[in-house]
């Protein structure tokens, strides 16, 4: 799509390339990305082994966006996510154990195994849910922004959506309503160039920046593979929003490394598209920046070990966790009287 050609991921906004982050802050961002990456790699394996039911959509390659956003949001801020929402959930603070147990369909999962990968949510963390309906998160985030505004919480609503979702009419309606009411909401488009099995360039013709501009909403298109750029830009936009500046749009150019879902043979895709993957992959990029900032390889290796231990533990805990029971689940349809 036009907006993705307008910016080449690896050389986007070179001036902004040197993020304003301290080594500690960047290390935290890196840690978050690594946690998401290793978690999804593990899920990929578990899925292949039949330990994860249903279908799952991995965000491998796109972690900088979730991590960058997560680093600037507060717990009271609310996010609405997509079918590709593992990263968003973890970066917003959903507990890793509850997450694994959910995706593996356990009673102890964050949604008691009722929802699974496509419906991970944690109200206490302001994570209003992954969503199986493309675009549906937009009005939900707008509504949560309305609640922030009316309740004067000082919070911000954020919606993540893919480039394929640009074609849904709710985008138009949500941009308009949030501009009209000056709602504290950030629209984050994760533009990975793909909409399932089709390049989005064959589906949607309007650059998001131009669309936002028509609604008078300030928009930025950035290299979504550079976690510092994401964190810096998101931080700036979120603080503008928090100050009452109204909605903002942030388009992050990135790439989908895996298939649309796990098991997707991707016959429709030229493998060459990913040949420069290492150059654009947010993790090695952040790692090399860290080494420029003086963080040693040993620190990164230790981090790796630490995260793998967490993930191993979460995997084992999920395996050991009880499966949900049908009769109990029926009680979750409606709120029990007296609650």
């Amino acid at each position: 799509m036009p907006s993705s050609s307008a910016i080449s991921p690896s050389k986007a906004r070179p001036g902004a390339r040197k993020g304003s982050n301290t080594p500690e802050a960047l290390l935290a961002l890196y840690r978050q990305m690594l946690l998401i990456r290793r978690t999804e790699e593990r899920l990929s394996q578990l899925f292949a082994d039949g330990e994860v039911p249903g279908f799952i959509h991995l965000s491998i390659g796109q972690e900088a966006i979730a991590a960058g956003l997560g680093s600037v949001l507060e717990r009271k801020d609310t996010i609405a996510s997509t079918h590709r929402g593992h990263g968003h959930a973890l970066a917003k603070g959903v507990d890793l154990n509850g997450f694994f147990q959910e995706v593996m369909g356990r009673e102890t999962g964050v949604c008691k195994g009722r929802g699974g990968s496509m419906h991970v949510a944690d109200m206490s963390a302001g994570m209003l849910g992954a969503n199986g309906i493309v675009g549906a998160g937009m009005p939900i985030a707008v509504g949560s922004a309305l609640a922030h505004q009316v309740r004067k919480t000082g919070g911000v609503g954020v919606v993540f959506f893919g480039d394929g979702a640009l074609a849904e009419g709710v985008l138009h309606e949500s941009l308009n309503l949030s501009a009209l009411w000056k709602l504290p909401v950030l629209f984050v488009c994760e533009n990975n160039g793909w909409s399932e099995f089709s390049p989005t360039s064959k589906q949607f013709v309007a650059p998001l920046g131009k669309l936002a501009d028509a609604f008078g909403i300030p928009a930025e298109t950035i290299d979504g593979n550079d976690v510092e750029i994401v964190a810096d830009t998101a931080g700036r936009l979120v603080s503008e929003i928090r100050k009452g500046g109204g909605p903002r749009v942030l388009e992050c150019i990135t790439q989908r490394v895996r298939g649309h879902y796990e098991g997707d043979a991707q016959k429709y895709r030229d493998p060459a598209e990913l040949k420069d993957r290492d150059k654009i992959d947010p993790l090695p990029r952040a790692a090399s920046r860290l080494s420029v900032l003086g963080v040693s390889d040993a620190v990164l290796a230790a981090l790796e070990t630490e995260i793998m231990a967490e993930i191993d533990a979460a995997t084992e805990a999920a395996r050991a966790a009880p499966l949900p029971e049908f009769v109990a689940a029926q009680a979750d349809v409606y709120t029990p009287a007296g609650v």
Binding site: H119, I133, A136, P139, G169, V170, T335
Partner: protein, 324 residues
């Protein structure tokens, strides 16, 4: 005791709820400054301010979707879709989001919102402004559906709907807005899921709701003249509906007719009848007969709409038939 119109009862209920609970907000098309196309929201803007009473753009999908998001995060939105027909644009937010959120998130939270849907014909509003689509919502786990027929219930069910922690579809028959009744000054909330015996009787039971209640009562009057005493049950709630009350009545009368304005085929009445043909089978001494709209869009011309709308004659015939 004072005379009150249905539309004013709804308005009063909204106002009382907003006065009691600052988290209640109201939004929809032309509901604030103009007070709503039918006047249900009149005066709320002046009383509660523009933060809580908002006119929206013509964006039904996002109106309801935003209500879901707001309801998840501390508000209790009451939104209006101007005519029930237009809800076709907003089904995702209601069915895939609001109805499922509590369950699919493992009971973590509730989605306390009300979607107000004016339904019904009789004013030559034509095929896209007259439909009764409540059966769609009654089929969806996670939703509650209410449809007040009396002025007292208009107040009481609106209060209950707003108080309810789960999403409630509030169906209001447009033909009832102007209806007047004497009601007590202090109207109570009405428990969702409880039917009301609108007229006691022993020979047959008519189960109904909404504007069709008055058609049923008229039929009952006619039949009384023939010595047939019909019990008329106003369901009030369609999801959940008061199975016990219907079964109890049936076990006294042994004859059942179900009447509503909605299209008969696959309508609300189908479930009532089906359920009674199961759990009430031993009580039945005659066929269960339904009276609803024929299988056609709601026509415009007066002669056509007259033929279309179920009337007391058809309801009385149904009773006679099951008694035959």
């Amino acid at each position: 005791m004072a005379e009150l119109r249905y539309v004013r009862a709804l308005n009063q209920a909204l106002s009382d709820a907003m006065a009691e609970d600052p988290s209640v907000i109201v939004f929809g098309e032309d509901i604030a400054a103009a007070g709503g196309p039918f006047g249900v929201t009149r005066g709320l803007l002046e009383a509660y301010g523009e933060d809580r009473v908002r006119d929206t753009p013509i964006s039904e999908a996002t109106i309801v979707g935003a209500a879901v998001g707001a309801a998840m995060t501390g508000l209790k939105p009451v939104v209006e879709i101007m005519f029930m027909d237009f809800v076709a644009i907003a089904m995702d937010a209601i069915v895939n989001q609001a109805a499922k959120a509590r369950f699919m998130f493992g009971g973590q939270g509730s989605v306390p919102m009300v979607v107000r849907l004016p339904h019904g014909g009789g004013v030559s509003a034509g095929p896209q402004h007259s439909q009764c689509l409540e059966a769609w919502f009654a089929h969806i786990p996670g939703l509650k559906v209410v449809c007040p027929a009396s002025v007292a219930d208009a107040y009481g069910l609106m209060r209950a709907a707003i108080d309810d922690p789960d999403p409630v579809i509030m169906v209001e028959n447009k033909a009832l807005y102007a209806r007047k009744e004497d009601v007590p000054d202090d109207l109570p909330a009405v428990e969702i899921g409880k039917a009301r015996i609108a007229r006691p009787g022993r020979d047959a039971t008519i189960v109904t709701y909404g504007a069709a209640l008055y058609t049923a009562l008229e039929a009952a009057d006619t039949l009384a003249g023939e010595g047939v005493e019909v019990e008329v049950i106003d369901l009030r709630s369609l999801q959940p509906w008061d199975e016990a009350a219907v079964l109890e009545s049936l076990s006294r009368t042994h004859r059942l007719v179900v009447a509503h304005e909605a299209v008969e085929a696959f309508g609300i009445g189908a479930e009532i009848a089906a359920r009674m043909a199961d759990i009430g089978f031993d009580e039945l001494d005659g066929p269960i007969i339904r009276v609803g709209a024929p299988f056609m869009p709601v026509p415009f011309a007066k002669t056509l709409e007259q033929g279309y709308l179920p009337d007391a004659g058809r309801v009385a015939d149904a009773v006679r038939k099951t008694l035959a």
